[in-house]
Symmetry: C3
Subunit: 328 residues, 3 copies
């Protein structure tokens, strides 16, 4: 597993300062890279690590050219992090065993499912009747795609993903629950990645929709009739309740919860573990997390928090008192 | 896929105002229904949508009869939402391909498991020794039911469900952990629905118990020796720690956490993302969520929160001061 | 399924007071044990239950010897909870059907994976190329172990576990995301237990590392390049974001979230549902949970919380005012 610096520059561009014949065996972070590795500097704040690294070559932005060149070989590129991403792809393409497309013999694919011939259905997957899997899409192992759900092109679904289980629809009746059959499906666009054991429920009447370019991490729950807009990314363990409408280019931090029937416009960024309880109609960063503390401090503050409203009333009383005291 | 209004009324009751021969092709929300669709009005607050809808027929409560009839065909019923639920069931029964009961050839079912002949064990499920699957119960694909666990009648388990993995039982010993083998099982009643990738652990000594009519959404964790009472419903991503005893007719919102060994009486409603840290002995709605805000506002408030107890002390001092000032 | 008290004492030690020939059929908690059961008293605070239990024999600490002996047979041991854990193991070893090691015929194991002959690969598991499974390790059903991931000896992976899915690595580019291929793997030590549907992602460049003796409950998400130190235990639904470095002997409560790139030293204990937003460099117990309350009380307090910073400013103003008032 190796590439020369010349091969890298030829494939991905960038200005190479140094020996094009120099060969690297792996990609590594600056701090652990040895003379066999290529590394990258994504932010100037890591420049100290640049000076100290033993990497054979470092990918840097134009502003760091002189500093990097003084140290050894470097690749000067507009966006080192993006370049690094492309280099990981090049690396994988060159070194990973190619998995030929097709349906693994242990997968259970309904005769009425439509699988593009360039798609890959991995071991022990289940694709139900009427499901559609687009060109170049890969279902790793143990993925379920339910009836009539459609997955676009170039998607990647990791093990354990469940697309198209029933949404959670129940009508109360005499203390028990009557099931609302979920007659919609799930429609997933192109270039979507879905992490391990993530679930996207089918819609009640209409479809749950995941637009092009959406990236979902592991163990995420997407309820029925949710829309997730183009290029939105969600970190692990997020829960999105039914009929939430999330815009494009949003990011949702790990463990966050978005309640049902809310609207988040494009460009909303929700911090990890935040609970979104009302619609957000203005782009920006939103947060709601209890600041953690050592347990004793937390206990004192949490106990007081349960009387916060009273505290405000007492403060008001003092203010009135002070105001009247000042008016002789 | 179509039904006439007359067929619907004949099957489910209700008073039909309009042409019994009129045929609908789908169920749809009021706002997106066209003349090919039947819709429903669940709350008077959506009456504006009633006026505007293009639906062929609307299911309404008696109070809305005149308004609905003025617009076109309608079905007048006591509880439109319940009627809608039953209509989805009718729809599915008429239009979905019937899955014959039985064990899919790719399922791995122990010879000593007892599967009712009317049950359905889907593709790639695992049913271990001594497990019991009741009449009419359906395990969709990729469900595991562990040794000696019992599932009642008419249950529905979605893909990826794990029933009867070991509870998390550990005894500390010299800095390491000694496993407590989990000798109990899981007992699930009738008419229980369990969402995709949800896990219910087996008990340590006695059984984990899920009573009749319980509805669990996706990605829920139920620890060992928990009891979930009759007809309780939990939304996605809930975590219930070991030995919690949750009553009947409760609802637990998405992402909520119930700590171990707590008791929740019947009729407790826990809001989404709330952490239940002590027993709840009175029915009602309970909440504990940090209100989210734009990030800057949150930062200010969260920083202050870490000094809340001190604020109270300062307020007390001022009050004392004021009181003594007033006593000349 | 039965053991005599003599057999138990011979296998596990302890001082038996009572009839060694007495046979017990099951292990049970003090409160539900009948004369066919053996039970244990883990804490003196349950001594009332000791007096009332109908158990044939109770495992107790030396301090409880007289109280226990007065009641009936007992086993006096240094650490009753540890002894109980070992008794569950003895019970299981004696009574459970031995599962012979080997690869279940429905498992999909790559020819280039290395499976120790004493390991057990259960039904419908997937083990990819280059993966290594150590001696005595058990993969229950439906576990995926990805390419090049290594699992040590005596590990137990519950159904639905996913080891080595891609970490969530993305570089932003013109409003879309470019995938960072995840070139690292997952390295898991010896004696690790991993709960149902838990996911551990492969590293971006280097490996995600789970050290010896770690115990993970169900539905946990471990991001790429995380390190979890020796003997650390995490309860269900925890999320650990990428590159977090968690020390040894830590405990992380259920539903807690640890953000990325943070360091937790050895011996840190995080309470359930706490969000760790900065590194913790001192051992101890840490908590950050919004105290729940009845909904109306919560609403009042939460509304006030959104103005907490202002409250502090108002308090300051009053304090100044009071101070200047006192200085004539």
């Amino acid at each position: 597993m190796s590439l020369s610096l010349g091969e890298i520059a030829a494939a991905l561009g960038g200005e190479l300062l140094g020996d094009a014949a120099l060969v690297v065996d792996r990609l590594a972070p600056l701090t652990s890279a040895g003379p066999e590795a290529i590394s990258f500097l994504s932010h100037a704040r890591y420049r100290k690590e640049l000076a100290a690294t033993r990497a054979a070559c470092v990918i840097v932005a134009p502003a760091m050219r002189d500093e990097a060149a003084a140290r050894g070989a470097c690749l000067v590129v507009d966006d080192p992090y993006l370049y690094f991403a492309r280099l990981t792809q090049l690396w994988k393409a060159r070194h990973a065993r190619a998995v030929p497309p097709g349906i693994h013999p242990t997968a259970v694919v309904d005769a009425e499912a439509r699988i593009d011939p360039t798609a890959t259905i991995g071991p022990l997957c289940v694709v139900e009747r009427g499901a559609v899997i687009g060109a170049g899409t890969v279902l790793k192992s143990r993925v379920t795609v339910g009836e009539d759900c459609t997955i676009g092109a170039r998607c990647l679904l990791h093990p354990g993903v469940v697309i198209g289980a029933d949404g959670f629809g129940l009508a109360p009746h005499q203390g028990a629950w009557v099931k609302i059959e979920q007659l919609g499906a799930v429609r997933i666009g192109d270039d979507v990645e879905i992490g391990a054991n993530t679930c996207i429920d089918r819609g009640a009447l209409e479809d749950t929709v995941i637009e092009d370019g959406v990236k979902l991490d592991n163990l995420i729950q997407i309820g029925h009739n949710v829309r997730v807009g183009r290029n939105t990314a969600m970190a692990g363990c997020v829960g999105v309740a039914g009929s939430a409408d999330i815009g494009a280019q949003c990011t949702i931090g790990g463990g966050a919860v978005v309640l049902g029937h809310l609207k988040l416009v494009d460009g909303v960024h929700v911090s990890a573990a935040t609970v979104v309880t009302r619609s957000i109609l203005k782009p920006g960063q939103y947060t709601g997390v209890f600041p953690f503390d050592d347990n004793a401090a937390w206990e004192r503050n949490a106990a007081t928090l349960r009387h916060l409203h009273q505290l405000r009333e007492r403060l008001r009383a003092l203010e009135k008192n002070a105001a009247s005291g000042q008016t002789p």
